[in-house]
């Protein structure tokens, strides 16, 4: 058994060499920093010994009503993004795949990838202008249809939807790449056979494309769940205003304010650790459920 594995390694040594930089990256930036998590159980001092304080910082965290508000916001915003954002790149990749005209297809792809390269501070500026109740594009359209202007940015009912749609605008195009690659991998013979059998485009989509994509969809879904508690620091930070703090203040912005700005690193580490644990539980839980139900998981 061991000999067979060694043979594989010997055969594919180039691939293993290529893996080394990635391993170094993960060890340096993702494994080693785990040691720093001990800070959540200490009162950190720059010089001298750090005092172990047990669960003190977690107790403070869980006794704060503000923490539960930000936790609730994080879960709601993440769930909304998961439900409404997740299918969009899949849909987009299928639509792009249906475009037959090469140049048009390339243009569409370039245009939808473009927002991914903009910083959230720029995107926030664009969206604030676009949603401006006085002369923003969205409200001009509303006014054209005799509808009153809405101040989306300061409305507690709308701001979370602004987060979802701005996320879709920015990332759906880029995220569709992975699905497009998966579609490209599907054997053309399957489509040819289906067409000979008289399958319509919709039937080809239903019986070939989607089943072939399901493995990728499940993997991406499970991996995304691992980042479920990352509701989007940069996005929220740039789109937040005083009118909507209570509905879009998330764990990351809370940790930033209390931990980094106020210098309470132990408290911030406790909040981050809590967030990380939830992410791990979600990823493991979904993986095992998926394995049970579909036989597919992340590994």
């Amino acid at each position: 058994m061991l000999q067979t594995k060694w043979k594989w390694i010997k055969r594919d040594w180039v691939l293993y060499v290529m893996l080394i930089p990635a391993l170094i990256y993960f060890i340096t930036f993702h494994i080693v920093p785990l040691i720093g998590m001990k800070l959540a159980f200490q009162d950190y001092r720059i010089l001298g010994d750090h005092q172990w304080v047990g669960l003190k910082h977690f107790e403070v965290l869980f006794s704060s009503p503000a923490f539960f508000t930000v936790l609730k916001n994080t879960i709601i915003i993440s769930a909304m993004k998961m439900i409404f954002f997740f299918p969009v790149p899949i849909l987009l990749s299928i639509l792009i795949n249906e475009v037959r005209h090469g140049k048009f297809r390339n243009s569409v792809q370039s245009i939808i990838y473009l927002p991914h390269f903009l910083l959230w501070v720029v995107i926030a500026g664009i969206w604030i202008s676009l949603l401006n109740p006085e002369d923003g594009g969205v409200n001009l359209i509303r006014n054209f249809f005799q509808l009153p202007s809405l101040d989306y940015m300061t409305s507690k009912d709308h701001i979370r939807w602004v987060l979802v749609f701005s996320e879709i605008w920015r990332s759906a195009g880029w995220d569709s790449i992975i699905y497009l690659a998966a579609i490209m991998k599907i054997s053309p013979a399957l489509y040819e056979a289906a067409r000979i059998d008289g399958a319509s485009n919709l039937q080809q989509l239903r019986y070939i494309t989607i089943p072939e994509l399901s493995g990728t969809i499940i993997t991406v879904f499970i991996l995304n769940l691992g980042f479920f508690m990352n509701a989007g620091f940069d996005q929220v930070f740039n789109l937040m205003n005083n009118s909507v703090i209570s509905v879009i203040d998330i764990l990351d912005t809370y940790v930033y304010r209390i931990g980094l700005v106020n210098g309470q690193y132990s408290y911030a580490t406790a909040a981050s650790l809590f967030k990380g644990v939830i992410g791990t539980v979600l990823i493991l839980g979904t993986h095992f459920i998926s394995k049970r139900l579909t036989g597919r998981g992340v590994w």
Partner: protein, 484 residues
């Protein structure tokens, strides 16, 4: 005998010379050293920064016989306080540190030097400190920052201001009512040919409006003394309620920028220069100078700014000055091996010679000497700023031919000084910061909602209850213990 006397004299001379050279060596040693420092916006690769510190090294050697080598820490881009804290928490503590928040946690760990004894012994610094600097140092002796008061003043284009009939009444009696009448006329008359669209703008919240109106509504301190002798937080007082009601009227009538909640500082300033908003609130002195420069550059000389007075009511002023501590400033690390030397540098920068370098920049670049007078150049006005001290009383070695600030900027600084009053803000302990954050967020949201008409002012009592439950009650108790 002669030989013996000669030998004796030579021995004495040798010992004397040895003693002298020893003494000299010790003196040179004590005045020599490297100062590692971290300052905001001072990138070691920036040629202007390099030249500044190189000039400072030369000047210290020449004027003070101090052989100092400066080693500037490179800071990554982003929020300074956050990046600085990360640097310090990594254990890398420079000798001299500029803080813009986050200092208290470092001082609590005994990592900052108490500057009181140094100031007591100083040659120059002691004499340029303002009364509020002295009080701040007494309450929190770790940060030193000699700059003009940072209160903000409202400004408007003079050509527009002069066209309004309500301007005179406003200047003579700047009550909130007269302010409102002035704002109303400004929008209705629109002296800019359909502009301004609104009378006053602000960036993100009402803090800038508070500089005009807080005092008039009786909000003269952070903690207001009640009739029973206890203190209540100004933002949950009845006076705050009246002020918010006033702001909501301004908003409802279209006088306050309808987009103030989502405005950033850059879009706010653009609205001002473009004439979409008539009045802007900016930090007195240098910032007003910049606003004035840009406004006249864009709209001509006649658009020079006029500084508006603070609203008059129960009190008058642009706000109370926090004397609990410096909110920013220079600290010396208690771990530094060159504490004395670092302070000598700070003290030198407060001297007339040091001020020449720090305040007006490089000769033939930021100023020229003509007719034995200092003539400031365009480059001075557009890019120079003092890295360290900016005392109100600047006495250069030669007479200034051109003023340091424009007229409106000088006027703003003068008015701020005229209405100076002290705040009773209390430094909160570390444990309170999470509660304070929650309580303050409640206020921010409630005030924004009331002003924009999303919540009625009658909800004020409900808000106060929520504020108390969010930690406001405990903090009030803590503060009452401190203010007794």
């Amino acid at each position: 005998m002669k030989k013996l006397a000669g030998l004796f004299a030579a021995t004495v001379m040798m010992f004397t010379m040895a003693a002298c050279s020893n003494d000299q060596a010790t003196t040179t040693e004590s005045k020599k050293g490297t100062i590692k420092l971290v300052l905001k916006d001072e990138d070691p690769s920036n040629p202007a920064t390099q030249k500044y510190f190189s000039n400072l090294e030369k000047a210290l050697k020449k004027d003070e016989k101090l052989d100092v080598k400066f080693e500037l820490v490179q800071m990554p881009q982003g929020n300074y306080a956050e990046k600085l804290n990360l640097l310090l928490y990594s254990g890398d503590i420079p000798d001299m540190i500029y803080f813009q928040g986050g200092d208290q946690q470092i001082a609590d760990q005994d990592l900052l030097e108490d500057l009181t004894p140094y100031i007591e012994k100083s040659k120059n610094l002691k004499s340029i400190m303002e009364p509020y600097n002295e009080k701040r140092m007494k309450n929190y002796p770790y940060l030193l920052w000699i700059k003009p008061l940072d209160l903000k003043t409202p400004v408007i284009r003079s050509d527009w201001f002069n066209q309004l009939s309500s301007s005179k009444a406003l200047m003579a009696d700047p009550t909130p009512e007269n302010y409102k009448a002035f704002f109303k006329e400004l929008v209705e008359k629109a002296p800019g040919g359909g502009k301004p669209k609104n009378a006053i703008t602000a960036a993100g919240d009402i803090a800038e409006l508070d500089y005009i109106f807080n005092m008039a509504f009786g909000l003269n301190q952070t903690w207001l003394k009640k009739s029973d002798g206890t203190y209540e937080y100004a933002k949950v007082s009845e006076k705050e309620k009246a002020k918010l009601e006033f702001y909501s009227e301004l908003y409802k009538e279209g006088l306050l920028d309808q987009q103030f909640a989502t405005k950033q500082w850059d879009t706010k300033e653009k609205a001002f220069y473009d004439g979409d908003s008539g009045v802007l609130v900016g930090t007195n002195g240098k910032v007003i100078d910049i606003y004035n420069g840009k406004m006249t550059q864009v709209n001509g000389k006649e658009a020079e700014l006029t500084v508006l007075p603070p609203a008059k009511g129960e009190f008058q002023g642009y706000g109370a000055t926090d004397i609990s501590k410096e909110s920013r400033g220079i600290a010396i690390s208690s771990q530094s091996k060159n504490k004395e030397l670092a302070f000598k540098v700070l003290d030198y920068l407060a001297s007339p010679k040091g001020q020449m370098l720090d305040r007006i920049g490089f000769e033939n670049e930021h100023y020229k000497i003509t007719d034995d007078q200092i003539q400031l150049t365009e480059k001075y006005y557009s890019e120079w700023y003092a890295r360290f001290w900016e005392p109100a009383d600047f006495k250069p070695e030669k007479t200034l031919k051109t003023p340091l600030l424009s007229k409106p900027a000088e006027e703003s600084a003068k008015l701020v000084q005229q209405y100076y009053s002290e705040d009773n803000k209390v430094i909160l302990d570390e444990e309170s910061s999470a509660k304070w954050d929650a309580a303050e967020n409640l206020y921010k949201e409630f005030s924004a909602d009331v002003i924009t008409g999303k919540r009625p002012i009658s909800d004020f009592d409900t808000f106060v209850e929520e504020w108390k439950n969010a930690g406001g009650d405990e903090i009030t108790k803590f503060v009452n213990g401190k203010l007794k």
